[in-house]
């Protein structure tokens, strides 16, 4: 007590930053990140938190409608949606005139207008070997002439930004034409990717290796101050062209209520965004309850504290005016089996396409209780994933039901039928009498230990001996890329909200990249290639359903769950809806003057 008096006695909460003198609201939004950012150079980051800040600072050519679900592409800096010709090989966009970069010393006092060349430059940067961009795959092997530029750079040691690239043209100051090596109807999603915002070459060259601390864009916010791994302060960009809140709310009552309050307002309405890095759940939870933060969505560990079992906000929180925005992340979590007959030089007991092997995989999948995973490990904060494309993503089929459901009794019968006999120790052998040992790989974390236990219990229930292989995450990824893991739990979150981003995970040529199961199926691949040539629609959806059934019949994956995202909002936060792929919703919301504070 004495120390509290000497030091900073905090009995009176600090004045809310939205209560500015004179009654004029000075709108400051306070949010948290649960992990530190890595920087704000769009080509150099891959983490969610850096990406969120980048999204607020830079402008991609296209973006997504704030309220439409599944997410819908709309023009951003482009005057209109791209003109797609040559059966999906050529994309041409015209950008709006009179858009300027935020002032920066790199511009030497001049106003710097945004041009199509800035986008061409931004795209080139992804493949510059010096940048070692985690998102280089967005453009690798796609744009005519760009990979050749990379090859030349490897020979000469210099990546030539001035060299002509046939597939990346700017016929005039405001037109960008991208020519692809192969038809790709999803390339518009790449152009809407928040990291593919325009960057000014002068800025990148001025700051060199420190470009990650000097983000300069044309977007709604600019970086005001930055203490690495601690605090990021953004301020509304005074030169921002502005947007009008004019989204179609559809029939959703919450959206309609939002539209009633927000329609016609000029964005952004929040003047300042303060992001604090708080790694610990207790700190975030207490800070939110004390009113020190306005939006908090990283509280899965304590969700039962504020939510009822049926996913509603507990009455005591609702009574305080706190609001809950609940959505399902655009992700799938799944267990995969290595489909190869051999792993290295050894026989893989779960791989191959013989009936016995399929029966074994099916039995393992049927023995795993996904409901327990959701109830115990996720604390109820997830839904069962039945389809490889999650909700909110184009191509999702809400009515689809997987063939593979929890049924240990049938799983045991299946193993008996296909000759996996139990020995005196209660564990089964292979049909040829050899010992059967299934290896499951995971990281040495507390969370993964829970998965290990559930897996062990499941396999014990069908008499299969399990070995847990522990390794660090990068080593597991390395082994996965060499097709050397037998079984592992994996997750995939949407890079862009289209089914293709998920269905490619089982495409044969993607083995040793994203296809961790190393699944090779001519039937699947043929349909996948056909789907790539189709726009989102019933015909492509039919192909996706067929592909999913093929995968289930072969039992390559057991889809487990997709997690809920529960965002808690203080009473004065107006207009918030979690978007599946846009994360800096700050642009679209408002803060009402706080009452009774």
């Amino acid at each position: 007590m004495a120390l509290a008096l000497v030091f900073g006695c905090d009995a009176t909460p600090p004045p809310h930053p939205n209560s500015a003198p004179g009654g004029v609201p000075d709108k400051v939004l306070r949010v948290t990140f649960q992990a530190a950012e890595t920087g704000f150079d769009p080509v150099k980051v891959s983490d969610y938190y850096s990406g969120t800040v980048i999204e607020a600072i830079y402008d991609p050519l296209l973006t997504y409608d704030y309220l439409a679900r599944p997410a819908k592409l709309v023009p951003n800096v482009a005057q209109a949606m791209p003109a797609v010709t040559d059966e999906g090989r050529t994309y041409e966009l015209k950008i709006k005139r009179g858009i300027y970069f935020a002032p920066d010393p790199a511009f030497k006092g001049r106003k710097r207008e945004l041009t199509a060349a800035d986008y061409a430059y931004a795209i080139r940067r992804f493949l510059d070997p010096r940048n070692r961009s985690p998102y280089a795959f967005l453009f690798e092997g796609k744009i005519i002439g760009l990979d050749e530029l990379v090859s030349q750079a490897k020979k000469s040691g210099r990546y030539d930004y001035d060299a002509k690239v046939a597939g990346l043209e700017t016929p005039d100051r405001y037109t960008l034409r991208v020519r692809l090596k192969a038809a790709d109807l999803n390339f518009s999603h790449v152009l809407a990717f928040p990291l593919v915002g325009a960057v000014a070459r002068e800025v990148i060259e001025a700051y060199g290796d420190d470009s990650a601390s000097h983000p300069v864009g044309t977007g709604p916010y600019l970086l005001k101050s930055y203490t690495r791994s601690s605090k990021i302060v953004l301020e509304a960009n005074p030169g921002y062209r502005g947007k009008i809140w004019d989204f179609d709310p559809g029939t959703d009552p919450v959206n309609r209520e939002i539209a009633a309050r927000m329609a016609g307002k000029k964005l952004p309405l929040i003047r300042r965004v303060e992001v604090s890095i708080m790694e610990e759940t207790q700190s975030r939870w207490l800070a939110f309850q004390k009113g020190q933060t306005d939006i908090e969505y990283q509280l899965a560990d304590v969700a039962p504290t504020f939510m009822t079992e049926d996913g509603k906000l507990k009455p005591e929180f609702a009574a305080r005016g706190i609001k809950l925005d609940r959505s399902v992340d655009p992700e799938i979590i799944y267990l995969y089996f290595n489909m190869q007959e051999r792993i290295g030089g050894e026989l893989n007991p779960v791989g191959g396409f013989s009936k016995e092997r399929i029966a074994l995989r099916r039995a393992i999948a049927m023995s795993y209780n996904v409901a327990d995973q959701i109830r115990i490990i996720r604390k109820g904060q997830a839904i069962r994933a039945e389809y490889p494309i999650p909700p909110g993503v184009a191509g999702h089929d809400a009515g689809y039901r997987s063939y593979i459901q929890y049924d240990p009794r049938t799983a045991n019968a299946l193993l008996d039928k296909f000759g996996y006999r139990k020995g005196p120790d209660g564990y089964r052998t292979q049909p040829d009498g050899k010992p059967l040992l299934v290896r499951y790989s995971s990281t040495p974390t507390e969370r993964d230990r829970q998965f290990d236990e559930l897996m062990k219990r499941s396999l014990d229930s069908i008499g299969i001996r399990l070995a847990i292989h522990k390794d660090r995450f990068p080593e597991l990824i390395k082994l996965e890329n060499e097709c050397r893991l037998m079984m592992r739990g994996a997750a995939w979150i949407a890079d862009y909200p289209d089914g293709d981003n998920f269905m490619q995970l089982l495409y044969g040529p993607n083995s040793r990249q994203t296809n961790g199961a190393c699944y090779q199926s001519a039937r699947y691949d043929e349909r996948y290639e056909k789907s790539r040539r189709l726009p989102n629609g019933p015909e492509r959806d039919r192909l996706y359903r067929e592909m999913t059934r093929i995968m289930e019949v072969d039992t390559v994956w057991l889809l487990t769950d997709s997690r809920y995202r529960n965002a808690l909002l203080q009473p004065h936060v107006v207009g918030y809806r979690k978007h599946p792929v846009l994360h800096a919703e700050w642009l679209y919301i408002d803060l009402a003057a706080p009452s009774g504070r």
Binding site: C9, A11, T12, G39, S229, S230, K290
Partner: protein
Amino acid sequence: MPAYITRRVLQFVPTLLGVMLLVFGLFSWIGGDPAYLLVGKIPNPEQIENIRRQLGVDQPYYVQFWIFVKQVASGDFGASWATNERVSAIFATRLGPSLIVLLPMLAVSTLLAMAAAMLVAHVRGSLTDRTIMIGCTVGQSISILVYILVLQYVLAYRLGWFPVQGWGNGLAENLLRYSALPIIVGVVVSLAPDIRLYRSFFLEEINQDYIRTARAKGMSETRVMWVHVLRNAAIPIVTNVMIQLPGLLAGAFLIERFFSIPGIGREVILAVERSDFPVIKAVTVYVAIATMIINLLADLLYKAVDPRVELK
């Protein structure tokens, strides 16, 4: 004395080399391939090779170790693999916040522990002594995590005496407002083991012949305790405090994480999570060097205070 100092400084070299070999070996053995952490969601072999080449982890181990030696010699550990921030800048910006919390914490806990230890040593065997010692044993067996969770909840959230977490821009704001609760937590955590340790130092002095002589000569108990016992017991106490400091800088990560203090400890954990070897290397080497220097200073201090101590 100069010969002694020279000899000790020369001993730094093999010790540091041992530390470097240990951290290099451990990282190479269990650290995992950093290229797979940095490559992103869709890796390809060319990109992995490119990253390995840029980080230098494609080189033979002896070449990598030689680069490490040169980094230690020049004091330039390059840039963080994860953020590209210069390692020197990481230290320059994170050291201040750590010291703002740790120095007052050490000072307060040392003074309180000394006072309590002197009291219980003076009344050794009494009910007060036993009660405090039992309390210390119990307090010492409780995890620091429990102290943080409970004190943050009660003092910051329930009673509202302190901010739940945060960090500002000015020294006064950080020291008086944001560091107060972390300092209290640190003091509470260290009090129990410190009292037990310091009590033993005081008891050792109280049982010395010169104290018996002082008492026999009629010196007041207050003077005996506050002048003679305290002055001599203070030497191992100060040594102990100094030795703690380098380890505390890196070890205070839990306090820094819970109270959002942008200090060195938090950065160390981040570096480990990200397999950020340049930062891990720098922290290990700096802590080792600081520990060696402080040990040397402590030995010199012994000599300065007690001329009977012989430096060999």
